[in-house]
């Protein structure tokens, strides 16, 4: 673990941070991770805050209703709708992979495309609904 390896320590590092260079399943995976962290940091406290406000009083309910009527709030909401739906669909894909469904390369690539598309389509549907 901590044994000194000066030769290997000095090797140049190349980190490709362009997400578009990833294959489809890699893209699904990193978005699964990013959406998960984003929801942990922002969506969990936000949902509790809104839940408390809307259940507390009718005035609070109407306040949040008017907040979510604002286009900017709708945009943020849609961002989290995408996070939730992408995370959900990608999660279902992982559950299927766990039980050895679609493990081969081609089905895995196809299901990755389906997951990316499903997350986007669900977001668009919610967008149409709330606009």
């Amino acid at each position: 673990m901590s044994s000194p390896q000066p030769a290997s320590r000095q090797r140049p590092k190349y980190v490709d941070i362009n997400l578009l260079h990833l294959p489809m399943p890699g893209l699904v995976s990193i978005f699964h991770r990013i959406s998960g962290v984003a929801m942990f940091l922002f969506l969990i406290p936000a949902v509790l805050f809104v839940l408390q406000g809307t259940l507390g009083s009718e005035a609070g309910f109407n306040h949040w209703k008017s907040v979510f009527a604002h286009p900017f709030a709708k945009l943020i909401l849609l961002g989290f709708v995408w996070c939730y739906m992408h995370h959900l669909f990608a999660g279902v894909r992982y559950l299927l992979l766990d039980v050895h469904v679609g493990v081969a390369l081609e089905p895995a690539r196809t299901s990755a495309r389906v997951v990316l598309a499903a997350g986007l389509i669900a977001t668009v549907l919610v967008g149409v609904r709330i606009w």
Partner: protein, 118 residues
Amino acid sequence: MVNAAKKIPVGAHYGWKDWLAQRVTAVIMLLFSIAIIGFFMLKGGVTFADWKELFRSQLFRILALMFLLSVYYHASIGIKDVLMDYIKPAGLRIGLQVAVLLFLLGCTIWSVTIIWGV
């Protein structure tokens, strides 16, 4: 030298509980999500009275809390995995993991007070 033959890294079943819990909580959240999305699609506009009535049902309260507890358990495992991947200094990592757990514990208590405070 470490005797490699004697070291069985899976001997204590490191991680399998987390792995399983993450999947069980995922299925609970999936089922609740389908139910709640279905409810909102069928219901259309939700008034304050509808909203309050929903949360006055003891069954819904329990299901909602089960969903939220699943979220917190699921998140604690997921964030731990992310921290283990990216945060190398042990002290910082443990500090962040403790902060995450305390935050989620706080969310759990807050959730109960919200749901049973209606």
